[in-house]
């Protein structure tokens, strides 16, 4: 009974396994960040090698009405035609 009681606290008192684990984790973290940095460098190298960006020779036209759907235009068409006839002075 008594030796069992003593070995229990003795094992708890030594915090070596805990610190050891901590040190391992820190080392793994540093290694990971180094690998990430290398991967980023390789990635940048691949990107600069492959992508060519050319300036467009024509001006970029932004179509503001692009979101208007054809079905909406079809629904309004008849009414719009009547509107033009009713307001012939401004059309």
């Amino acid at each position: 009974m008594m030796p069992m009681k003593l070995t229990g606290p003795a094992a708890d008192a030594t915090a070596d396994p805990v610190t050891g684990r901590k040190r391992q984790a820190a080392m793994a973290g540093r290694w990971k960040s180094r690998m990430a940095g290398m991967a980023a460098l390789i990635g940048a190298g691949v990107l600069t090698g492959c992508i060519n960006v050319n300036a467009p020779d024509k001006p970029i036209v932004i179509e503001l009405n692009i979101n208007i759907r054809q079905e909406v235009i079809y629904r309004l068409a008849e009414d719009a035609a009547d509107t033009i006839e009713e307001n012939a002075d401004i059309f």
Binding site: N65, V72, I84, N87, A88, I90, F91
Partner: protein
């Protein structure tokens, strides 16, 4: 006495009807300055349902175009609300129709933004136009 009064009232009513008949078409016709600018190709129908100046703008031409576009926008706003649409949707639809109604010699805007002169051939319109 009562007869002559009734006669006068009848004459007045007839006169008002005649005046109304003459006033209505006059209201519906284009302003002479606008009609002339249209015919001369100085203004054209834009894709978005409004009137645009083709070429050099002058202050009086700008005023004429602004005046018509303000009136058009008011009509579009009212009609869009009645049809549960946005002003832009209604205006674009009206633009489709207005471009289709141009007569040869008048200017209209193609979907790419360039000004075109209407010929007897159908105009170049937005592919969504009915």
């Amino acid at each position: 006495m009562t007869f002559s009064v009734r006669k006068m009232m009848l004459a007045a009513a007839a006169g008002a009807a005649v005046a109304g008949a003459f006033a209505a078409p006059a209201m519906a016709q284009r302003d002479p300055a606008y009609a002339a600018a249209r015919e001369a190709g100085r203004v054209g129908e834009r894709v978005d349902g409004y009137l645009g100046i083709v070429g050099q703008a002058t202050p009086e031409l700008q005023r004429l175009v602004d005046d018509i576009n303000i009136k058009r926008r008011a009509v579009y706003a009212r009609k869009a609300q009645a049809n549960n649409a946005t002003i832009e949707e209604y205006a674009l639809t009206a633009g489709c129709q207005a471009i289709a109604r141009t007569v040869p010699g008048e200017k209209y805007q193609a979907p790419d933004g360039t000004w075109m002169t209407r010929t007897s051939a159908p105009p170049v319109r937005d592919p969504r136009c009915p």
